[in-house]
Amino acid sequence: MGLARGVLRSVLPFLVGLPLLLALQALLDARGWDDVSLILINVGVNVVLAVSLNVVNGFTGQFSLGHAGFMAVGAYTAAKITLGFTGLQIAFLPEAISDHVIFAFALGCGMATAALAGFLVGMPSLRLRGDYLAIVTLGFGEIIRSIVENMRFLGQATGLSGIPRLTNVTWAGVGAVATFAMARRLAVSTQGRALFAIREDEVAAEAMGVDTTGYKVRAFVISAAYAGLAGGLIVHVLQLATPRSFTFIRSIEVVVMVVLGGLGSITGSILAATGLTIALEALREFEQFRMVVYALLLVAFMLLRPQGIFGTRELWDLKLLRRLGWPRTAAAGPAGAAPTEVRDDGVGGRR
């Protein structure tokens, strides 16, 4: 019974989301709104990135700056596979479907290799904490990029080109829904509880018998896998994979989204990722101000509202919505936990 409910809860978002996405896609294709679909794909990819980074940075309270590295691993794996399969068609399947089956396989492989990379990186570095972890993950991200840049069969600095354009609104949407469902299911699970415990107080969690390193590595691996998914999605719309698209700046962009939305808030990340992507698209003619705005937002938020828009709460925890009779889920994930304000300065931080 419990299992059936669990499975239903994991599948339900897709049952609701998929028809909507397919309808949206059909509408966009019928109208020929290519720019709109491009923006929507970008939104989807950024949602995947932000929510998956939130699992490490928000849920677990660790600070990873190497998301772009895992993205690169997933992107190159997926691109290599779809490039290898170009011109091939799976028997008994029409071409369009066959392509997408291969694409799904490629994305899966991308996630797997990214998860493997996440394991290899996470295993040694998650012994460290706070700012050291941030720098080490940054270092690993740069090392991954450096390795890719030096591998001949990955095209070195010029990268891989001619990747088939397979990502569409549905794919990006399914990715986003999958990441959301993953994060949500994680937040209400034992694993998620352990992660929140680590975030609130790692020493106390360990004293309570939480295998902190194990849970941290697992969170890291999950997060890396979804970063790989985002990488696979984005290269199949840009049709180009270069090391330059996966620099440390890309990681920072994702961090900004997560911080803005609120570390630990899934809906916050989704809103921030969507809002920032659309806002930046609208401000395209001010391209040179883009990163300046990012930086200013980051500093301003840290000074004025360091917990981000939502803090650790979710959209449905907001007073306004609750007053409207929004159904509040019983065990509302991080909301139940104490607000995260790690007092590690010994002064008894002001809140």
């Binding site: 570095s125 450096s146 304000e341």
Partner: protein, 309 residues
């Protein structure tokens, strides 16, 4: 042999630059326990400050030692002021917040400087914009013939760079260990609260630490720019990260550690890049960092801290 000594010379000149930047990281980390992510960008601003001062003082055509020192001192002053401002307005309001908040702010400030300097307005020479600029020649480059016998190129740049860097480091060593300010700084780094109770003006000491670190970064930037005159708003990022690695290698919070760490890192980078693949140059520093953190997280000169619950 020739190659080995040449790498030694290049590695030392690179290492002193890393060491000077690393000092800023290590001092700020000592007093605030904050990785000042923007430090690499202060270094970048130092180079541009020198560029603009040299431009304003029309030094392009007459290189001389006196003018070089004018440019260097000017850049150090400007960067010191910038360091003060950053500390005052970005970090001080966050002093009692979780450390991660300050780290994110530091990343924000770093990006603000990098991308602020990449802006370009019509008819204005500042900000410099994204295209690289050529740093003016401050001192004439003259080969020094000491090592010609074994075929190694050595110029007065190497000697001046090394001399200035060593002078600054000795000066800093004197400030930290022989003056009242240095004593106060060490007290703050030991325990800010108790230092405050003992009547040490903690805020002022922290401000001056930033000023000092930023001025050293500016000096490093000028030395670096005389060697490698192409400067652009992003060139501080990588050097800053590598200098941070140097600081961690030497033991973050330790002044002699930063110097040794910088030199070791510079030499390691030069030798590994020289004898194996030069395209892995940037990855070397991070590999060193990861090794250090795994094998000896407190660094070469650092004290191991025990976490009390």
């Amino acid at each position: 042999m020739t190659e080995f000594v040449q790498h030694l010379v290049n590695g030392l000149s690179l290492g002193t630059i890393y060491a000077l930047i690393a000092l800023g990281y290590t001092m700020v980390y000592g007093v605030l326990k904050l990785i000042n992510f923007a430090h690499g960008d202060i270094y970048m601003v130092g180079a541009f400050a020198g560029y603009y001062i040299a431009g304003a003082a029309a030094l392009r055509d007459a290189p001389s030692i006196a003018r070089a020192s004018l440019v260097t001192l000017g850049a150090m002053l400007l960067c010191g002021a910038l360091g003060y401002l950053i500390e005052r307005f970005a970090y001080r309001p966050l002093r009692h917040r979780p450390r991660l908040t300050a780290l994110i702010t530091a990343i924000g400030v770093s990006f603000l400087l990098e991308y602020g300097f990449q802006l370009q307005f019509k008819g204005s020479r500042f900000p410099p914009g994204p295209t690289p600029r050529v740093f003016p020649i401050l001192v004439k480059r003259e080969p020094v013939g000491w090592l010609d016998a074994i075929g190694v190129n050595l110029s007065n740049y190497d000697l001046i760079g090394l001399g200035v860097a060593l002078g600054l480091m000795l000066g800093l060593q004197w400030i930290v260990y022989r003056t009242r300010f240095g004593t106060a700084m060490r007290a703050v780094s030991f325990d800010p609260q108790v230092a405050g109770l003992m009547g040490i003006p903690v805020n002022r000491i922290i401000s001056w630490t930033f000023v000092l670190g930023s001025a050293l970064a500016a000096a490093a930037a000028i030395i670096n720019a005389t060697f490698r005159p192409r400067i652009d708003p992003l060139f501080g990022l990588m050097s800053g990260l590598k200098a941070f690695v140097a600081a961690v290698l030497g033991g973050i919070g330790s002044v002699p550690g930063a110097m040794v760490g910088g030199l070791v890192l510079g030499l390691a980078e030069e030798y590994v890049a020289g004898y194996t693949l030069s395209s892995y140059r940037d990855a070397i520093a991070f590999a060193v960092l990861i090794l250090v953190l795994l094998v000896r997280p407190e660094g070469l000169f650092g004290r191991a801290t025990v976490e009390k619950v």
